[in-house]
């Protein structure tokens, strides 16, 4: 933007541009972390931080593709069920005596298929993704139960369980955070620095307009659903290893945690707006809050209430902020003289 002359009004606008919701969430996360370090017993030690990260990783992992989906104006509610199905298949194949090194790629492949089904139903039949994925959410969970029944498989090889739940020596860094950081870097680059990312924002802002500029909307959305499916399946594998338990009801309700975190991170559900930084800050804000509340012996029921209130606030706050800004601008437009660099309040 050719903005060389800096008037006070322009710098104010720029400042307001910088104080976006995702930066606010980032600041909130930082504040919460500082408070927890200072006031919550046993919060600050390496073991607890590794627990915190480990428990939050499944949500963070799925939040990556979910952010992109929501930016493009779609949503996937079947992610928790896909993760559960992936874990159930993992358990069933393990019981069959198949090698874990073959099972994991097969599970990821299964995730691709789940995502493909969602994506094809949405893009080829033109159905709303909310309706499609509510359906597949039930269907995938059902298949998971058929595959594994109410059995639970826990005897995965120690080195894999250690990878799922362990950490580097006495540091706060779980092993599993490494692949996550790599995936996060890829996602940030794709969403914020490539034409794919720009296309996603364009589609989310106006699908019609995006189509006219030559973006292949259907293909783009399909690939997003497939990615979501694959990462959900990966999460399912991680879940089974982290909690040493493959069950058909693994990751039950995970989709809600992911969507809650993404919402909290300032991703607009109408599409077209949001950043991955915001989403990840939202994920870890909820994760940290939960961890700190557990350490403070807040009951599970009260934790749900706190999270719920926080969510409602997070959806309302940016909207209210926008309304205030709009009404202020209107008032200024009618009251202020046409050229006045000092008309800053």
């Amino acid at each position: 933007m050719p903005d060389t002359k800096t008037t006070p009004a322009a710098s104010w606008t720029r400042l307001r541009g910088a104080v976006r919701w995702d930066t606010t969430v980032g600041a909130l996360l930082l504040t919460l972390l500082i408070c927890s370090f200072s006031f919550v017993d046993n919060f600050g030690n390496a073991l607890n931080i590794s627990f915190l990260i480990g428990n939050t990783l499944p949500i963070a992992l799925i939040a990556l593709p979910m952010t992109m989906l929501v930016v493009s104006g779609e949503v996937d509610l079947s992610v928790g069920s896909t993760a559960g199905l992936s874990g159930a298949v993992m358990g069933a194949l393990w019981n069959q005596g198949m090698a874990i090194e073959s099972i994991i790629p097969l599970c990821l492949l299964l995730g691709v298929v789940c995502g493909l089904v969602n994506g094809l139903l949405v893009t080829r039949l033109g159905l709303p993704s909310l309706a499609v994925t509510i359906g597949t959410m039930a269907a995938y969970r059902g298949i998971a139960q058929i595959v594994l029944g109410s059995d639970s498989v826990t005897d995965f090889p120690t080195q894999y369980l250690d990878f799922g739940a362990g950490r580097f020596g006495d540091t706060f860094i779980p092993y599993a955070v490494i692949p996550f950081v790599i995936l996060l870097a890829i996602a940030v680059v794709v969403l914020h620095a490539t034409s794919i990312g720009r296309s996603l924002f364009a589609v989310g802002a106006s699908e019609e307009a995006a189509r006219f500029t030559g973006i292949r909307v259907k293909r783009l959305k399909l690939s997003m659903f497939v990615t979501t499916g694959a990462l959900s399946a990966l999460t399912g594998v991680f879940w089974a290893l982290h909690y040493a338990s493959a069950r058909y009801d693994n990751a039950l309700g995970l989709e809600l945690s992911v969507i809650a975190a993404v919402l909290l991170g300032g991703i607009d559900f109408d599409g077209g707006k949001g950043t991955l930084g915001g989403a990840i800050a939202g994920v870890f804000l909820l994760g940290t809050l939960q961890n700190a509340m557990s350490l403070l012996n807040v009951s599970a029921q009260s934790q749900i209430v706190v999270t719920g209130v926080l969510l409602v606030v997070s959806v309302l706050a940016p909207r209210i902020g926008r309304e205030i800004a709009r009404s202020r601008a209107r008032r200024r437009a009618s009251a202020a003289p046409p050229v006045s660099p000092t008309a800053v309040t």
Binding site: E101, T154, D162, Q301
Partner: protein, 350 residues
């Protein structure tokens, strides 16, 4: 294209000999006991013992944990309880083990939803110097110091069959209504029941089905309904779970099968009083969960005080409960279950 590559990779991995179930079964399991026991060591005070039941707000566990709380108060130590609100939330239980580890409690008493799932987390707890006692439902032996068993599984399994056989005059079809298919204690008892049924005196009794109600009242109710639809000649049901027997009694007492189909199993007197008095249930049994919780608490304190380490043959004095000896695989038995009927049920309140 991508699919074929993945498949090829998968096959490649198999061909090169990946890690399979068989490999892990070969891994040896070392008992998690170390150090030396000193039966005369002084009982430490001011310890914190965390109770982690399968499910909070479940009357059975509430009663057990209250027993633990009472014992800890008496011993001058602190009690706390955490736990998932669903009886099948294994990942929730893992998080709670981690929370207790994090809060640096001195010992924890855990009733495991699943024998394997908690292992990694419990081992980590023990590595951080926390003593681990399982009660009611065990994990693998190497993942805890001591298991406090509600009674010998053998006695519980056999007596339930004996109670029911008497009620149906040793004749007819019977079924079992269990909790989750993975529940360690349930499965052990069911195996004992099957073994007991091999005795020639039960030759006219046929076990037709084992149903699973997942310790969920609604599901157990529906399973009972399903059992009677599927087997109209059913003579008796054994439900070795407090949630299951209550739901089954609830169904029977409101149906035409009341008084015709016998029901026994493990229940609490407060839950079952109504059904014993209205003639739906003749006799059932249970150990006193408060005593179980008390013994778990006393064991945890004895471990933390160094009186025992969890090895077979060690003994310790559990306050007014008397002396207990650690058996094979670090198991302590509470004792024989109590049978409740119309005559004695009013003497109990739990």
């Amino acid at each position: 294209m991508a699919i074929s590559i993945t498949a090829a990779l998968a096959l490649g991995a198999t061909a090169c000999g990946g890690t399979t179930k068989e490999d892990t079964e070969k891994e040896g399991a070392a008992a998690a006991t170390d150090g030396k026991a000193d039966p005369n060591a002084a009982i430490k005070k001011g310890l914190t013992v965390g109770f982690l039941p399968k499910q909070v707000n479940n009357p059975y566990f509430t009663s057990a944990d209250k027993g633990g709380e009472k014992a800890l108060k008496e011993l001058g130590s602190n009690y706390k309880e955490v736990g998932p609100s669903s009886g099948t939330d294994t990942s929730g239980q893992v998080s709670y083990v981690n929370t207790l580890t994090q809060q640096q409690v001195d010992a924890m008493a855990v009733s495991a939803q699943d024998p394997g799932a908690l292992c990694t987390a419990l081992k980590q707890a023990m590595k951080n110097g926390i003593k681990v006692v399982t009660y009611d439902s065990d994990t693998k032996p190497e993942c805890r110091n001591v298991f406090v068993s509600q009674a010998s599984g053998d006695a519980i399994g056999r007596t339930q069959v004996q109670l029911l056989a008497e009620q149906i005059s040793y004749k007819g079809e019977i079924a079992v209504l269990s909790a989750a298919q993975t529940a360690t204690n349930q499965n052990a008892w069911i195996d004992v029941m099957k073994d007991e049924l091999k005795d020639p005196k039960y030759k006219d009794i046929k076990l037709v089905k084992i149903a699973y109600g997942d310790d969920d009242a609604q599901k157990s109710f529906q399973q009972t309904q399903g059992l009677l639809q599927e087997y109209p000649d059913l003579k008796g049901i054994i439900s070795p779970t407090t949630v299951g027997i209550k739901a089954a009694a609830q169904y029977l007492s409101g149906s035409k099968y009341k008084g015709k189909v016998s029901l026994t199993g493990l229940g609490t007197p407060n839950d079952m009083r109504k059904y014993v008095k209205n003639g739906t249930v003749e006799e059932f049994e249970l150990w006193d969960p408060a005593k179980l919780g008390e013994l778990a608490a006393r064991t945890a304190v004895a471990l933390s005080s160094g009186q025992i380490t969890g090895k077979e043959g060690e003994t310790f004095k559990a306050g007014g409960m008397g002396e207990y000896t650690i058996g094979k695989d670090g198991v302590i038995d509470l004792g024989k279950p109590t049978v409740f009927d119309a005559k004695n049920i009013d003497q109990f309140d739990f």
